[in-house]
Amino acid sequence: GAGVSQSPSNKVTEKGKDVELRCDPISGHTALYWYRQSLGQGLEFLIYFQGNSAPDKSGLPSDRFSAERTGGSVSTLTIQRTQQEDSAVYLCASSLVGSAQETQYFGPGTRLLVL
């Protein structure tokens, strides 16, 4: 496809379970970002990848959150021992490497509900 894709689109889990969220960036985009969108909180930056490395993971809220990127393409965000406050929409974005004036293209998000 032409855009950023994310899976699953919706995820319902029980408190304490682990979840994995997947992001497929636009082909050829080397920069990848994860954001979290909570009700009334706006988008909150989580982590940024340049290729397979993560120069900025300052937004990860706790050590229960981790992310990896393999082959400079697909990324997985893992939340361990989920809590109810983790319920949110998790958005992935990607951009080309080349200039500061690049657009971040967002996927449709994964809606996570922790019961």
């Binding site: 951009s95 080309l96 080349g98």
Partner: protein, 114 residues
Amino acid sequence: QKEVEQDPGPLSVPEGAIVSLNCTYSNSAFQYFMWYRQYSRKGPELLMYTYSSGNKEDGRFTAQVDKSSKYISLFIRDSQPSDSATYLCAMSAHGTGTASKLTFGTGTRLQVTL
């Protein structure tokens, strides 16, 4: 206090009205100012961005930045029902894309009625 403040609305206007959406911010390092539009159950899409102060126009949309007041605006002329969406302002010190951690407002929900 949040770095970026945005009235969540909702804002309801009749078709054809001029819409004004605004954000204030506190971080003087912000140089890049963006407006994203987000339809329900979709990801945000970039509408416009402005570097530093000034105005930028694109069709029915005009973005304004006043760095002295730390205030940015998005104006929509001749609003259409298809403009109904949530509008998010976003800001960065380093750019709009590569290595740029964007700081977003909470978004303003706009409803344009027939």
